[in-house]
């Protein structure tokens, strides 16, 4: 009974290799899918930028001819903007909100949104539409000086519900305040007297606070 027992080194090495194999397989599948999705976003961003450039150009050239201006196929722009938002949301969950690639795409997305926002405003003014335009500022950073990320997340959920109820007439633009360039954010905040996040601009009036669903509905449907 005094025989020393064996430590089977080979079993540990094999187990280590097999366990690593599972991880490598998982990482390969994940990265393949993420790469694919980032490419999709990139392609969308390019398309949407091109569409917006053409739209703006046409808008400037055809200011006098409102019929032509109003017949622009902005629907595609809107759908792709929503799709990018969807993918970015999923990628945030998957790769993390602070992932450099996600942050890069979000920064670009903010620019696309700004152009889309301008276009929507123009269409609203010139083509007889009565869309409700909501601009929403939030932050994902829990330690941000720009506001409360938890309340921002809650505000996002409330806006989502409002949008789902009336997709045709409500256009929402969400901006991660931390990812906007300083100058643009300041100009928005100064113009609409905003100081924190979450905050909203609904039909060109600023609201420097969290708003419940009922409060927003009262503003939209007075």
């Amino acid at each position: 009974m005094e025989k020393a027992k064996k430590v089977r080194l080979e079993a540990y090495v094999v187990a280590l290799l097999v366990a690593s194999g599972f991880f490598i397989a998982g990482i390969a599948i994940r990265d393949f899918a993420a790469y694919d999705q980032l490419n999709t976003i990139s392609a969308y961003q390019k398309t949407i930028s091109a569409l917006l450039a053409v739209s703006e150009l046409k808008g400037e050239l055809l200011q006098s001819d409102s019929d032509d201006y109003c017949n622009l196929s902005w629907d595609d722009v809107w759908k792709e903007k929503v799709e990018i938002g969807n993918i970015l949301g999923a990628l945030e969950t998957k790769l993390g909100k602070q992932n450099p690639q996600v942050l890069e795409q979000k920064a670009m997305y903010n620019k696309v949104q700004l152009s889309t926002l301008n276009l929507v405003k123009k269409i609203n003014e010139n083509c007889g539409y009565n869309w409700t335009v909501i601009v929403f500022f939030y932050t994902n950073n829990k330690t941000s000086e720009l506001g409360d990320s938890e309340r921002g997340s809650l505000q996002g959920s409330v806006l989502d519900t409002i949008y789902q109820a009336d997709k045709e007439n409500i256009k929402i633009f969400s901006f991660d305040a931390e990812l906007m360039d300083e100058e643009t954010r300041k100009s928005f905040f100064d113009e609409y007297e905003l100081t924190t996040t979450p905050s909203l601009i609904i039909n060109d009036i600023g609201y420097d606070r969290f708003m419940s669903k009922n409060e927003i509905l009262e503003v939209i449907y007075p």
Binding site: K5, A11, R30
Partner: protein
């Protein structure tokens, strides 16, 4: 909104890595065992004493005795000691009747109730045979169990031989889930035994009596005296053999309450005995037991508690946040989005969960073929998604009792 902590990714990945490592280790060891089976020649003829500790087992005693009498082994070599632990029912009277009815039975009545370990010791000390089998009164060994177990004692390093268990009651969900557990445990124990690292001598185990004489009897007052004895055998660098191709049937808790109480005792006993034999951990002279089995066992018990408490908090926080969102006017909706769907299923965490489930399922199907058992897949699913959480509750309670220095009631 309640704070919902996000677990650092490295923690999640480490847990999964550990899980894959453990599974791979067992599978590799199983393959090794298949290629290096020791063939022990000879048909040993040992005299053997069965010691049955009995406390309030009047209804079970005869079944147990009958199963021993039906063993496919020379009956003149078998003695049965029934030791009554001062039962308050008619156990002693039933035992006396059995003593008269069958040959080779001796009944002992202890003057006061002192618990299972002491009752077993009482019987073992009075045995004179080279081999002693201990079994609970609710355990029924199969006919071929001695023929398959005793040859193991030809290896002089084998101090005990354990066998697979099967619940004899398996109609209720809690019983069926234990059936799956016992079935999987049988597989893992046979591999541990092959590694020379099986650290438990459970409810029906056959011992070389000499070991008790040299190294002491069951630890009185220990909540898991079988685990302690297993560790003691290992600490003396003896081995515990295991028979997977036959079994003993045993009663398992039939209610959730009884189950939790049993597992609380087992969990507490595991922690207590791990502390008692702490010097064995990572000590190379104890081989894989010291480097793999014991650390996995102890770490697993502690990790399960942390995971359970964390999950309960997350669940609570999500429910509160859900309510807060509802009160702010949010309405849940579901729209299918292919991109989100693909991204969800290609998330590394989700992929690792899928891999884990597939590994578990493959092992289950493989063991089912290996043991020729027709266990239903739905019971396995119940085991994975419900039983393990119930088990985790008991484990967490055991950790709580242990840390508080409080011994659970029997």
């Amino acid at each position: 909104m309640l704070f919902v902590p996000s677990i650092p990714l490295w923690v999640i990945y480490s847990i999964f890595f550990l899980e894959f490592f453990i599974a791979s280790f067992f599978v590799f060891s199983f393959i090794q065992s298949k290629f290096s089976k020791k063939i022990l020649l000879g048909k040993p003829e040992f005299d053997i004493t069965f010691v049955i500790p009995a406390y309030n087992k009047e209804s079970l005693l005869e079944g147990c005795v009958k199963s021993i009498k039906n063993l496919d082994y020379a009956q003149n070599r078998i003695k049965i000691f029934i030791v009554d632990d001062k039962s308050t029912d008619n156990t002693l009277e039933v035992a006396r009747k059995l003593e008269k009815k069958y040959s080779g039975i001796s009944v002992f009545a202890k003057p006061k109730n002192t618990g299972k370990a002491d009752t077993l010791n009482f019987g073992i000390k009075r045995a004179s045979t080279e081999i002693v089998a201990v079994l609970d009164a609710d355990t029924l060994p199969q006919g071929d169990i001695l023929q398959k177990s005793l040859p193991k004692f030809l290896d002089s390093n084998i101090m005990a031989v354990a066998c697979r268990f099967k619940p004899s009651n398996h109609s209720r969900a809690i019983e069926r889930m234990q059936y799956v557990e016992y079935f999987l445990t049988g597989f893992y124990r046979s591999i541990m035994s092959h590694m020379g690292a099986l650290p438990v001598a459970p409810a029906f185990t056959i011992f070389r009596r000499e070991f008790f004489v040299k190294h002491g009897y069951f630890d009185k007052g220990n909540m898991t005296e079988d685990f302690e004895m297993g560790l003691r055998i290992q600490s003396k660098r003896g081995n515990i053999g295991y028979i997977a191709d036959t079994y003993a049937a045993t009663d398992v808790p039939d209610t959730l309450r009884k189950f939790i109480r049993q597992r609380l005792r087992w969990g507490y006993g595991t922690l207590y005995n791990c502390r008692k034999y702490l010097d064995m951990f990572f000590n190379p002279k104890y081989g894989d037991l010291a480097f793999f089995i014991l650390p996995t066992w102890l770490f697993g018990t502690l990790l399960v508690s942390v995971v359970l408490l964390f999950t309960l908090y997350l669940l609570f926080a999500q429910i509160v946040n859900f309510a807060i969102k509802l009160s702010a006017g949010w309405l849940p909706y579901f729209t299918f989005n292919l991109t989100r769907f693909i991204l969800f299923f290609t998330d590394l965490r989700v992929l690792l969960v899928i891999f884990s489930l597939l590994i578990g399922l493959s092992l289950f199907l493989f063991i089912r073929i290996e043991f020729r058992e027709k266990i239903k897949l739905k019971d396995y699913i119940l085991y994975i998604f419900l039983y393990l959480w119930i088990q985790a509750v008991a484990s967490t309670m055991a950790v709580g009792y242990f840390l508080a220095g409080k011994k659970p009631k029997w």
